[in-house]
Assembly symmetry: D2
Homo-oligomer: 271 residues x 4
């Protein structure tokens, strides 16, 4: 399957403002590129990429006085397969987990494992199978939180989302991630493109999406508490401990988002 | 100067429990070791070290049923000099900061930069010199929080400490780190040994200490909002975004701390 | 299966001499440790470990005037299974190889890919199946080189071994690694313990062993051109581009090896 | 000072051929970019960047049947200052060197430290000052090798260059690097742009250049055995153990270089 992805985003600012952006696809998808993924800026300011501590491709630039438009458009190959479910079977003991996944058991800015420990164990402590536990958490979060774009708040944490019971895809992911970590299942927060592929048309503007991965039986598996069903065509951009690590853009100063268009569509051929 | 450091810590548990510990000195101090730093366990369970994502030496072990005593004792050379103050001069623009320090501008579990942004800018926005700004933050935090061991709480954040105005060295460090980050000064949380060297005797049991580093003028400088004065003889163990990353021990199950002795003393010779 | 491994090695020197050693097991085997792997030095000089650029555990120490004895003894669990053969099937195109394996296609100190390119293609160019190609290389090297301890020479390269047709396990590995790389199959050089387990008794003093890994069908597989047969009980210590990267010890000055005992035996229980 | 750099290189091939290229500036120079450094390909095939194990930016692409032209053109700021000389003073003992520089003491494909050890010690063993030793090596290599483009050979090592006494800038760098390593001075091989800035005009087509860094007194310093004098305006692209690690392009199949233009000129303004 071929998917055409990209964005057209404009920031405005009164003063030159430093920005860090995670607007590139994840290196694990580089081999799937069918056309170059070339980040364009207008005006054509210098920008450069570096690999952050989580293996994501970050971009740094300074938004010039007035503003800048960042855009990108590329075609990528995808398996066209649904997210794989984690295998059934007993959960890995913590002592068998690889060193590199250990940070994904700890708390983070939006994932207060310390505060949700009791909620997690009282709800999911009785389940011993790893897949069942993860899927029970996904199901719980999906039903516990009411989705609504107007519920978005930049400082909302998993604990807040649990209590307020309202949120956006980011909050679904944070709560599910936190509950998995409480149960000693490593979990990481993911962002990327997720088009309306293999599902009925959705009447909402396209946006980037947030989901999460769990580490079960020696591998990472993707789950989505917002949609609560396997999906086709996720194009991963970045992953980290939570939305702090993988914010699409972090501006170090005052900026206004003046345009935000994202596209992710199945296509038949490379234009 | 020679400093003899070490600890003797006992955990008890009913079930074998996985543990991750940051009880080794930081690699940047390895060259100063005058005797081996050998972590002993009783009973002598297998344990191993790995380097975490922040360059710290982490230890993994499984506490056996009953419990385990971890101990260490070594002698290390130290310059005997006071913490260096950051140089005076204008603050580095964010765009000039190296990529590797950027994560230390972001929020983290105990450092809610989003919530303290207004506090930071209204108090320190008028200062342009980087050293003055950092030292004003240290001074402010030192005076804002009342120290008391009974104020320790494992889920207390910088925001909580700011509001409750009570805490321990960890809370002083979290609040100062958060305020620095809000002002676009990269800051990282540190733990280690800090003996009563070069100061009047202190009538309190020795403990590990928490302080923080700021990135100013192209280098990291150590500050301590708890003590609000330069000190001699810090032996760094671990540094990270906040106490989550550098917890002395993280147990993945129920354990009881049955003994906790730390020593850090100036000595005249290697025994 | 339980295997008891260790060594007792003595270096003598007239002057304090810096040393770097790769005498620890590889982190990928840490989870298998049944007893601590504690490196002892006599006299008890300070030494410390760090992770090198290939993920191996390196030790640094200064050999004191007179000399030092390094020793270690531990018990480790092993699957007891033979080395897995690479799967049959077409070789991965270079463009599909992960970025991280690319260095293992390049030349290195003892693996002159540039000089052996023609030898490789004329001998193995006709084979398209990856497993067949690797196994043909292993077979060729096994038969091309005559084994003999007295053929060891510290500056012998793959090219030298190819021409001289004599060598030790290190030379078998270097030549096989080089030929694989010439054929665009990533290959890395490995060292570790390899006891006489599952084979008839061997009448030679135990030593560390060298073998190599190839990257086929998305994973690494172990081969051994010296023995030309799958073996049981390899305990990996270090891997890299060639013997330069994983030298057991590198002394930065004049030292004499005064004792060298290695043990690797199957045992029934932990002592 | 502003420098305009870039290249226009064409490879031709009969079959699609995987390529790895180190044609981007080094991340340490990213902050100096005044215009974007955008690698263009014609035809516009997918290509992507990754950070290699030495911190360089590598590019991977597949050259399509027929061929591809790679080009780049950007303006970068430079201090305009001459290479800094290493400070005078005693050489750092190996035991005080940071772990991360240790690999730059070892042999590598084109730097046979084992073969040149005697040459190094007999010529430079009497010098104890680190700067004097490095500069004596640079001077020696500069005078020992006769420069000539027709002396270039892709498999020529430091040992070969020492014996043949002919070579190109790569060979000067390899021999100097090897001799420094033999003397326990960490040395790394560098490639990049070096225009005819601050020197009389040179009547030769512009090419990329090779030089090297030594680690003295806790920092890296740049030397150039080809020119044997400090220069202005080096724009680093990549550094590693030797030319293997930082080859401008490595093709995994047969390709022909059909065009090779490099430019590096001081300019007064950004176009």
């Amino acid at each position: 399957m071929l998917i055409r992805c990209g964005y057209d985003i404009r920031f405005e600012t009164d003063e030159p403002t430093a920005m860090m952006a995670l607007l590139s696809i994840h290196p694990s998808r580089h081999h799937d590129l069918q056309t170059p993924q070339r980040l364009m800026a207008d005006p054509d300011v210098p920008l450069y990429q570096f690999e952050d501590g989580f293996g994501n491709v970050a971009t740094r630039l300074t938004i010039p006085r007035g503003g800048v438009t960042l855009s990108c458009d590329f075609t990528i190959a995808d398996s066209g397969e649904l997210d794989r479910r984690a295998p059934a079977g007993p959960q890995m003991p913590v002592e068998d987990l690889p060193d590199a996944v250990m940070p994904f058991l700890l708390g983070s800015r939006y994932c207060e494992t310390d505060r949700l420990m009791d909620v997690a164990w009282s709800n999911f402590g009785y389940i011993s199978d790893a897949r069942e536990r993860v899927e029970a958490i996904v199901h719980f979060v999906h039903n516990h939180i009411e989705f609504g774009y107007h519920h978005a708040r930049s400082d909302k944490t998993a604990w807040n989302a649990y209590q307020e019971r309202r949120g956006v895809c980011r909050d679904f992911a944070h709560l599910a991630v936190t509950l998995c970590r409480c149960m000693n299942i490593p979990a990481r927060y993911c962002t990327g493109y997720l088009g309306d592929i293999g599902i009925p048309p959705v009447d909402a503007p396209m946006d980037f999406s947030a989901w999460f991965d769990v580490y079960v039986a020696g591998d990472w598996f993707t789950y989505d508490a917002r949609h609560n069903q396997p999906r086709i065509g996720r194009i991963l951009m970045a992953r980290g401990r939570d939305a702090t690590d993988v914010a699409l853009t972090t501006a170090f100063g005052r900026t206004t988002l003046a345009r935000f268009d994202v596209h992710t569509d199945e296509v038949n051929q490379i234009d």
